[in-house]
Symmetry: C2
Subunit: 214 residues, 2 copies
DNA sequence: CGCATCAGTCAACAGCCGTAGAATGAACGC
DNA sequence: GCGTTCATTCTACGGCTGTTGACTGATGCG
């Protein structure tokens, strides 16, 4: 059936070219941010003409939107499910605060290990591109809500936001700012140091709160 | 003596205009970041011609450098000295870990209260402008070293960097990304929630450090 | 007063940007 | 085979950018 002839159909070739463009765009957006990434540079990096990028994606904004929505991790926290595709993310934080803590730490660990290309594209561009910030905020809200439910405290939403801020701060300072201490440290070191920090945020102030709402 | 005639000397007038330009630049850099801030916009906002900005500052890069080096808080943590100009910053973190924690929290509280204009100019541009990142890293290192000395742990430098990352993450997510939960929260709330977090990083794992930390 | 200095303006240049549209040529359906 | 579709390229336009240099007029100094 499928002959080994290297003659792809037209649709295949288009998709292939689109992918090449998207890959180049993702990398450049991550490296330089939205403003400093030019369509010409993306096209050149993908080995095509700039007009073709326009023809396929319509505009620079739309290209950026495609890059960020295609990004494997637009989420704040993407808990490692261990490969179980059937595991709903909804159950990951639903349990105890301890489970939430470990899920967050695992997510952070993976983000510190993998090359966070597309994640960086979002993170870097969020700070200059209002659309990117909006898109991120919208995408992150359900995840924040979910995390909020796992935290037994009246100010759980603020706690969840702080956890998000900490994670982003660490990633930004390691990859964007490249603070040497953080850039050189191993993910395990970082996780070990942050665990008590996360625990203090996910667990309620059981000491003197006495609000026995749980 | 000094007549109320509004006729300043030439040098005074120049410095006054320079200040106006610097103020406008600081605000615009903070609002839009480096790339989206144009010299023409700065000049227009300061009520002068774009050529004058060039004449005074040489280039956009130099103007940005002046803005960031003039910034009242290029420092990571600027502990509140209570107005004592003679208090050397060197002594602020020199004491116990608890003192360092409180100094960091006070600094964060002030940053969450005041309009962090120039601080944002640095923070926002750091993430897109390589020069700004370098300049920041250089300026922050002594402060990090200082904080490191206050932490009695073998990995004190990493702990200090994490504290810096957390502070920046919170500020960035509140002012740059404007995550609603964080933007609406009061500084006191945030500080209260972060205190145990900071404590866990500034104090050594004296309790259960028995198990070989490798 | 007379000349040098300098704050400040104006017009322009060269370059890069996103984008549009015509042109080309190969792949496709009939 | 023929006309159409479509991937792809080329050229170009208008706008914005940083930057330059000539210009103007008030100010300072001798």
């Amino acid at each position: 059936m499928t002959e080994p002839t290297a003659r792809p159909t037209r649709a295949q070739q288009r998709r292939q070219t689109e992918d090449r463009i998207l890959t180049a765009a993702r990398q450049l957006f991550a490296e330089r941010g939205y403003d400093r990434t030019t369509i010409r540079a993306v096209a050149s990096s993908a080995g095509v003409d700039a007009g073709l990028v326009m023809h396929y994606f319509g505009s620079k904004d739309l290209l950026f939107a495609r890059v960020t929505e295609t990004a494997p991790a637009p989420d704040v926290f993407q808990a490692a499910t261990g490969g179980g595709a059937g595991a709903e993310a909804g159950e990951l934080y639903g349990g105890t605060p301890d489970e939430a803590t470990e899920a967050l730490l695992t997510s952070l660990g993976r983000r510190l290990t993998d090359e966070p290309e597309s994640s960086l594209a979002v993170l870097r561009s969020m700070l200059t591109n209002a659309d990117a910030a909006d898109r991120y905020r919208t995408a992150a809200q359900p995840q924040l809500d979910q995390l909020t439910e796992a935290i037994p405290a009246p100010d759980a939403d603020l706690r969840a936001s702080l956890l998000s801020a900490i994670i982003h701060g660490v990633i930004a300072e390691r990859y964007l700012l490249r603070l040497t201490n953080l850039a050189d440290a191993s993910p395990e070191q970082i996780i070990t140091l942050l665990r008590p920090c996360f625990e203090s945020l996910t667990t309620a102030p059981a000491d003197d709160a006495a609000d026995g709402q749980g």
